[in-house]
Symmetry: C2
Subunit: 153 residues, 2 copies
C-alpha cells in the first residue's frame, strides 16, 4: 500500500472536519501498525471492496468527538449519546466517500459498505487481515483521533 | 429485505459454529430492530457490497464466546484476550463467506470487505443506514449472541 492510497484518506478527513465542523485537525506521521489495536470511545467503521478489500476505522477519544459535534451542531455537547453516534456515522460516510472519489481519479475504484458505529469507553478495534494496517493519528484542540486504513494487496 | 436474504446468515452461523466449535446454537425469531443497538463484549463486523450495500455484525456476550473458542481450541479459555478476538475475526469471515456462497446460488452476488473485531465490555454497535436492520438472537449453553444483518434495498 503506497502513500498515494493513504493521502486521499488524510485529505478527506481534513476537508470533512473543516467543512462540517469548522475544525482544523493536524495529522501526525502515518505509521504501520504492529500491535494492531486502536483504543477510543467512539469508532466509525466502513468496509471497502473493489480495487482491493479493506476497511477504514476512525477512532475518536471523547474530547475530540465532543468538540467536533459541538461545532457541527452549534451547541455544546457534553456527553456521548445517540446524536454523537449518528454524527460519527455521517462523518465516516463522508470521509470514505470523498477518499473514494479521489482514489477514482488515480484509477482505483472502490465500493463502500454501510458504516457501523461503536460506542463504549476504551473499546479496542482489531482488523482481521494479513495485509498492512496504516494508522494516521490526528490532533485537534479538543482531543485526539486516529484513522486506520487497511487495504489488502 | 426478505427471508431468503436472512436465512443464509442463520444457516451459515449454525453450520460454522457446529463445524468449528462442535457447538449447537439455537436461533430465536428474527426481528426488525427499532432501537438499533446491540450490546455485547466482542463483536465481529464485516461490510458487504454488490447486490446491495450492507453490513453484518455478530455480537457475543462473554459467556458465549468463551464457550465457542474453548471448544475450537480444545482448552478452557477463561478471559477475553487477543486469541479470542482473532477467533471472532475468523468466525465472522467464515459466516460471511458461507452466507455469500448461499446467496450466490439464488443470484445475489456480494463482495465482502475485511472483518474488524471490537473488544470492550458492554460496547454498543449502531448501523448507519435508513434500510432495515434485522437482528437474529442465538442461545448457546455458554451464553447469548446476536447477528445483525443490514442490507440496503
Amino acid at each position: 500500500m503506497d502513500a498515494s492510497m493513504i493521502n486521499p484518506f488524510i485529505n478527506a478527513t481534513l476537508n470533512v472536519l473543516e467543512t462540517m465542523a469548522f475544525l482544523k485537525s493536524v495529522p501526525g506521521t502515518p505509521y504501520l501498525k504492529k500491535d494492531d489495536v486502536a483504543i477510543g470511545d467512539l469508532t466509525g467503521i466502513i468496509g471497502l471492496t473493489g480495487e482491493s478489500n479493506g476497511t477504514v476505522a476512525i477512532t475518536f477519544d471523547e474530547g475530540s468527538i465532543l468538540k467536533i459535534v459541538s461545532n457541527m451542531f452549534g451547541e455544546e455537547m457534553l456527553e456521548l449519546n445517540h446524536e454523537i453516534a449518528d454524527a460519527v456515522g455521517e462523518i465516516t460516510n463522508m470521509i470514505a466517500g470523498q477518499a473514494r472519489r479521489d482514489l477514482e481519479l488515480i484509477g482505483k475504484v472502490f465500493e463502500a459498505a454501510i458504516p457501523s458505529v461503536v460506542s463504549g469507553r476504551g473499546h479496542r478495534i482489531t482488523h482481521y487481515t494479513d495485509g498492512p494496517k496504516i494508522a494516521i493519528p490526528f490532533e485537534t484542540d479538543g482531543g485526539k483521533f486516529v484513522i486506520e486504513v487497511c487495504l489488502e494487496d
